[in-house]
């Protein structure tokens, strides 16, 4: 019986599995409301801009519309949201690239400031980063 030919990509996948090389998951949350519970006019514009940013920095991303989100502020106030999640798997070298990280943070802070957020959430793998200072 002849041996089945592997696709080139299959070889790559196997070699990556063996090497232990991993990619990192990045998630940026695009809010729908401000901290005063007002609906944002322009959530779609921020989501669209974030997709473009992720494409430039990490080679692509996927957006997910969510059902509901909830956040408790330091003052104990409950803020509800219907966020859009921008997600991507990125190379470790890209995630650790200081310039790229700064550009990502600059975007997150600008969005937090302009959309009057209590915090902007950025997840890197299993760590949830709350960005509360927007300057």
């Amino acid at each position: 019986m002849s041996q089945k030919r592997l696709f080139e990509e299959a070889e790559t996948i196997i070699s990556v599995l063996h090497s232990g090389e991993r990619q990192d998951l990045l998630i940026l949350i695009i809010p729908s409301h401000d901290k005063g519970k007002r609906l944002l006019n322009n959530q779609e514009q921020w989501a669209n801009a974030a997709l473009g940013l992720f494409a430039d920095l990490f080679g692509g991303a996927t957006a997910f519309k969510t059902f509901k989100g909830i956040y408790k502020t330091d003052d104990g106030e409950i803020l509800e949201d219907i966020p859009i999640l921008i997600e991507c798997y990125a190379k470790r070298t890209d995630v650790e690239d200081r310039d790229k990280l700064v550009e990502l943070l600059r975007f997150a802070k600008r969005m937090g400031n302009e959309t009057r957020q209590a915090a902007v959430a950025l997840m890197v793998n299993d760590v949830f980063h709350e960005i509360k200072h927007f300057r």
């Binding site: 609906l39 322009n42 779609e44 669209n48 600059r106 975007f107």
Partner: protein, 326 residues
């Protein structure tokens, strides 16, 4: 224990401060303290050298501009593409290798701080060529603003940033040009400059601005019509105020010198279709357009109302007011 006030000590010593790793008592920390001290010293020397080099570069940049300007104002590089390219080429020919955006910014920085630079011997000679006043064609004002707003969302840039950076400038021209075919790049750029100059409230107008109540306009708007359903003959050729909304939210507000062509362009729906993205598609039957004719509304100039509405309604596709008025 209260922290040591290094600023007070520095004031007494008349010294300049640099942050270094904290020293340790005795020989154990000697090596690190010495290394830190040498490192700081050489950094300072490098910094002072680079400061000198920076001034030399400014001199070269101004010299390059003087060679190609033919009397034009330094700000001309923001809208005159031919001059901007000549300036960049001249900079390269004198050995400057920085990106064009950097060279443009440095030239404008010298222009904005003429007195300080004159003291250092870097002088831009007076402009002798008349400069066209930035203006905006009523029917294409939205194209310029929509394109700028898109770039702002994505890159967080100012209007100056867009015009200074060739890459961003080209993107702007392409986006605005798609909505305003036949308009030259220079006209689009002059329109952007016009927007930059007018999208703020003058200090002396602030009390009036703060006192304006947009609810006053409610009875003066012509009945809103779906975009595409506004009869051309019902729109006067006069100055006025236009608003486009999408149910719960405002999309765009503009004051125009001529309502007819501006409403005609917006009524095609085409500009909004070009703003569609992965998350938003315009449904033209859900976009409503309304307007008020008049240079003054309730005794207040339409431009003031425009600024007030932009501040209050935060339209999705308007360039926001600068902080002074916000």
């Amino acid at each position: 224990m209260r922290e040591l006030n290094q600023y007070a000590i520095s004031q007494i010593l008349g010294s300049e401060m640099s942050l270094i790793e904290e020293g340790r008592f005795g020989n154990l920390g000697l090596l690190r303290t010495t290394a830190e001290s040498f490192a700081r010293n050489s950094q300072k020397k490098r910094a002072s050298k680079s400061q000198g080099r920076s001034l030399d570069e400014d001199r070269l940049i101004v010299g390059a501009f003087e060679t190609v300007r033919q009397g034009a104002a330094p700000d001309s590089i923001l809208w005159d593409g031919t001059l901007a390219r000549k300036f960049e080429r001249q900079c390269r020919s004198v050995g400057l290798s920085a990106p064009a955006s950097h060279l443009n910014r440095r030239l404008l920085n010298v222009r904005k701080n003429q007195r300080r630079y004159a003291g250092l011997g870097v002088v831009i000679s007076p402009t002798t060529k008349s400069v066209p006043h930035p203006s905006i064609a009523p029917q294409f004002a939205h194209a310029i603003e929509f394109a700028l707003v898109q770039l702002r969302y994505r890159y967080g840039v100012s209007i100056d940033d867009v015009l200074i950076d060739p890459e961003l400038g080209t993107k702007f021209e392409e986006m605005a040009g798609a909505m305003a075919p036949g308009i030259s790049a220079a006209e689009l750029r002059l329109g952007a400059l016009y927007l930059r100059k007018t999208r703020h409230c003058k200090k002396q107008e602030l009390p009036l601005f703060e006192s304006l109540d947009p609810a006053v306009l409610d009875e003066q708007w012509r009945t809103p019509k779906a975009v595409g359903k506004t009869a051309r003959q019902s729109v006067p050729s006069a100055p006025g105020l236009i608003e486009v909304d999408e149910g719960h939210r405002c999309l765009y507000v503009t004051q125009t010198d001529d309502l007819a062509p501006a409403v005609e362009q917006l009524s095609t729906g085409h500009p909004f279709e070009l703003m569609a993205n992965h998350f938003w598609k315009p449904h033209l039957d859900k976009l409503r357009l309304r307007f008020i004719a008049g240079d003054k509304i309730n005794g207040v100039r339409a431009r003031q109302w425009e600024l007030r509405l932009i501040k209050d309604r935060e339209p999705v596709f308007n360039w926001p007011l600068c902080a002074a008025a916000a």
